[in-house]
Symmetry: C2
Amino acid sequence: MIRRLAIVGVGLLGGSAAKAARAEGLAREIVGIGRDAGRLGPPLREGVLDRATTELEDGVRDADFVLLAAPVLASEGLLARVWRAAPEGAVVTDVGSTKRGIVRAAERLAAERRAVAFCGSHPMAGSERSGYGVARADLFRGATVIVTPTDRTEPRAVKAVSELWEALGARVRALDPESHDRVVAAISHLPHAVAYALVDAVARLEPEALEFAARGFLDTTRIAAADPDVWTEIFLANRDAVLASLQRFRGALDELERAIASGAPAALRATLARARDAREGLR
Amino acid sequence: MIRRLAIVGVGLLGGSAAKAARAEGLAREIVGIGRDAGRLGPPLREGVLDRATTELEDGVRDADFVLLAAPVLASEGLLARVWRAAPEGAVVTDVGSTKRGIVRAAERLAAERRAVAFCGSHPMAGSERSGYGVARADLFRGATVIVTPTDRTEPRAVKAVSELWEALGARVRALDPESHDRVVAAISHLPHAVAYALVDAVARLEPEALEFAARGFLDTTRIAAADPDVWTEIFLANRDAVLASLQRFRGALDELERAIASGAPAALRATLARARDAREGLR
């Protein structure tokens, strides 16, 4: 049981964690921290938060568990302040989509002060929509959360963070931060880049085609409705892995394009069948 | 009211048209034509078809309306035989995803025999699954069907074909065959190519990442589960428009990639926001 859970950033992810923690009775007190007092009003009025503050240090001072749920670069920036303000024994985690940066920052801070322990996490759940208004208590139910301990991570942090996510209904998997960033570049950041480029290409060069868009186009580009601020941070925070993924995608696209251009059905069919088989292997 | 509706190819589209025509009472008799007698068994037993045959000429001989619902190049190949076998006054349409080829073929045939009239159509409905097993009477309800008359198309064919689709619940729009092929290259064929390449890139180069695939990846690549035989035909039948679309997509992807590589948030955010705005403008 967490005595005081401090959640920094009460949007889709932070708000959903607060709702789920409340519903499951995981924390005696839940404190929400945000830059904008007005946005903290709804979760406070709904009883999802017990307390809300715009003062980071004030919010985390007595917290035994701190969940950083601001955008990825903002969370990295806030980590040092959390580290200094949190009490002895506190455990800190985040929900960022990239992990090398924040894990490295936490390891530098742990060298200064060992009384606070960090283990990174990345819930593979979300929406192209953002904000507390779309937060829901079951967001993490059945989702995978990747935790990213290294050999310098304190076991108590890995344990506390994993147990929190499991209590919120998630399945927890561990990956080192580098593997994590490579994996999410491939299965999350690359598809977002591709979806943004696809909408952009059609909207700029064949805008009249958009009115005929059917389910295939809509599904393929749904994630291009995601928040540009959030995704600017993610692409930049994971830049090298994203660029490497784009390079690989370009290779696959080149191969497909050559098969179409050649006009030879057999090679084209083989390329498509290989992709179809891989896709059918997924849920 | 159609006296005898002949449907060539009783799969997802042909089967759905048969079910919907039966449900709406649009045809006195519905004849299904297929290469494989075994596959015609289920719709015949279910009463969706009144008669089934593997002999094309036999099936269309007394039909006043012929719906070609075989894969796109196969339908082009069968059109000449339908044209010669169909009775005086018959109207013929198809459901192919590309239109220049079959419309040109029909115009050549009309020069030989004016008693049969053709108007192309393309129902913007479907599924990544195929076959009569997934056919359903409401497939066309609320969908857009693009009909592709030219100045050489007989008005009675445009009328009969449009009325059939409207009776099946679709919204009918007209485009010339060239515009149609450019539009579908952008909003259907390009997304399919991109989805196939995306799955292929990840499956070949980062296969362990696939087990972490969440909703974003699954939605973006859903159409990569589509039938490779069908899509080999579509990509080759619309090759020049598909290659032009790929060229445009590559330009948009290059721009996004440069913005990520530059590390400058403002340009990247502007690129993403432009795509997001375009995507939000859709349903």
